[in-house]
Subunit: 327 residues, 2 copies
Amino acid sequence: MAVIGLGLIGGSVLRALAARGHHVSGYDADPATRATARTAAAQAPANARWHVTATVADAVRDADLAVVAVPLPAVGGVFDELASLAYVGVVTDVTSVKGPVRDIALDRLRTGGQSLATFIGGHPMAGRETSGFTAADPRLFDDCAWVLCLEEDGAGLRDWIELAALITGLGARVVPATAEEHDQAVATISHVPHLVAAAVAARIGSDPLAGTLGAGSFRDGTRVAAARPELTAAMCGGNAEAVLDALDAVLADLAAARAALDGADPITTLVPWLTPGHTARHEWPPTPGETADLPARADVLLRLGRVGGWITSVADDGRTVRAVRPA
Amino acid sequence: MAVIGLGLIGGSVLRALAARGHHVSGYDADPATRATARTAAAQAPANARWHVTATVADAVRDADLAVVAVPLPAVGGVFDELASLAYVGVVTDVTSVKGPVRDIALDRLRTGGQSLATFIGGHPMAGRETSGFTAADPRLFDDCAWVLCLEEDGAGLRDWIELAALITGLGARVVPATAEEHDQAVATISHVPHLVAAAVAARIGSDPLAGTLGAGSFRDGTRVAAARPELTAAMCGGNAEAVLDALDAVLADLAAARAALDGADPITTLVPWLTPGHTARHEWPPTPGETADLPARADVLLRLGRVGGWITSVADDGRTVRAVRPA
């Protein structure tokens, strides 16, 4: 197996795979990161080491899986390199949009009109408050939701199941979803919250008194506004269509709150307006409910994902998965 | 001194005043709370005890300051009781809106057309994730911003300065502001964030996949949506005019983000849109900058509040205050 890109997520994947005894090679475009990763490997237990290679070619030479863990703008270049190497294994990624990356994969992972590798989009919903290989943690994915994209027609299902088995083995909850479903969901739970946080935070720029009075609700509600604008813009702008839909839903809801505030009895009318958000947040995060062994079929898996369910393991024969529905 | 209402804030004020050696009596409408506060008093160090009385009249009998620490809907009733007792000391409160409470005070703290007590609206911006006297903490106000309302004309300035001296003595940063300035500021940094959190959280109610993928930005961005809808509605609805203004500013800003997302190059256009919020959040919370002794004049104090400054102490003669401007 190969991991291309050794930042927080790639480095953590590398370490997590090595810790489970997988033979894994890592590459990063930055020589300093490679040196750090190489030094860390020498300090790891003998049965949980990894290799650090000087080129992508060396990393993927004997690999049947390539995890592309570079930032979105660099993904296309890595795919080009894999295509030029005529790499024929499975390729997955860890970026936060899945439709655009699938389109890049379909376009680039081919040569002479022929598709080479099988691409399966992935997205571990792991915290990112720190970055770089030095922050990499083999336990980063414990109980973390990790989307693996699947299409209705079940194309590439066998490889999907194999990858799901590997990733559940890292402790993650594998969530099946189409690329479009993923992109809509992350617009709702990540991209729009970033925009809203920026809009709320900006208000104190012209009102220092408000800044001085800011306490818990301002602190938490605007935390992600501290992220670098370039990263947030790339994330939201790279998923513009889904973010527009999710933003419009929030704007429509806030317009209703505005009407309530502008009405005769705002206190009474705001209670039912606030209740759906209260209920949803009160029941979040979802806790594991009913467990079942389900057949490894695309339609069954996608249905599981749509009700908020996930996979905790794959049977040895790959024919069934252990599925959990939220309580 | 008397504290009426012994929940988290009132109980903490009681304990903080007693810990500084002030003679203080407390009353709560709930007999069980009174019993808890009485038991706690017996366990406190001999030089930091408080009295718990069975009536408001007993609590305020020898008090020259009454801190009304009951929820907003109960404030008017307590003011009525103080008026019926012909209480003539200083009255302050700790609720989250200041214009409406000032109007109630002007209306109720009088008898025979004659104003009795001096009312000074207050609002400590202290965390409220726990509640009740058992959560009361004499250190709750350490470095906490505590608004004390002041009018341009300087009415009641001498009492204001005395109260500011007392409250800075509890470790708080006293922030001078008019009631209107306060209500606009808390609309911006607390009330609108509550509405936005509810609107964002509500989206996962109809999208379980999104709920399963929710991670850090959803968790923090929607935390306050878990508050009871009745409390949030009372808070926002009780400050409807200022909340409408602050909400409109956020909605206008989000409309600009929407236009950027809908444009030809959302990634590029979102960067400058995100930057003001990033900058404001990055520089928050304000850190202490320049310190100066300022004359205790209403215009000077209000100007300090408007630039985000606060008071850390009052000179013994009450003529100057030690003021801090944000860095």
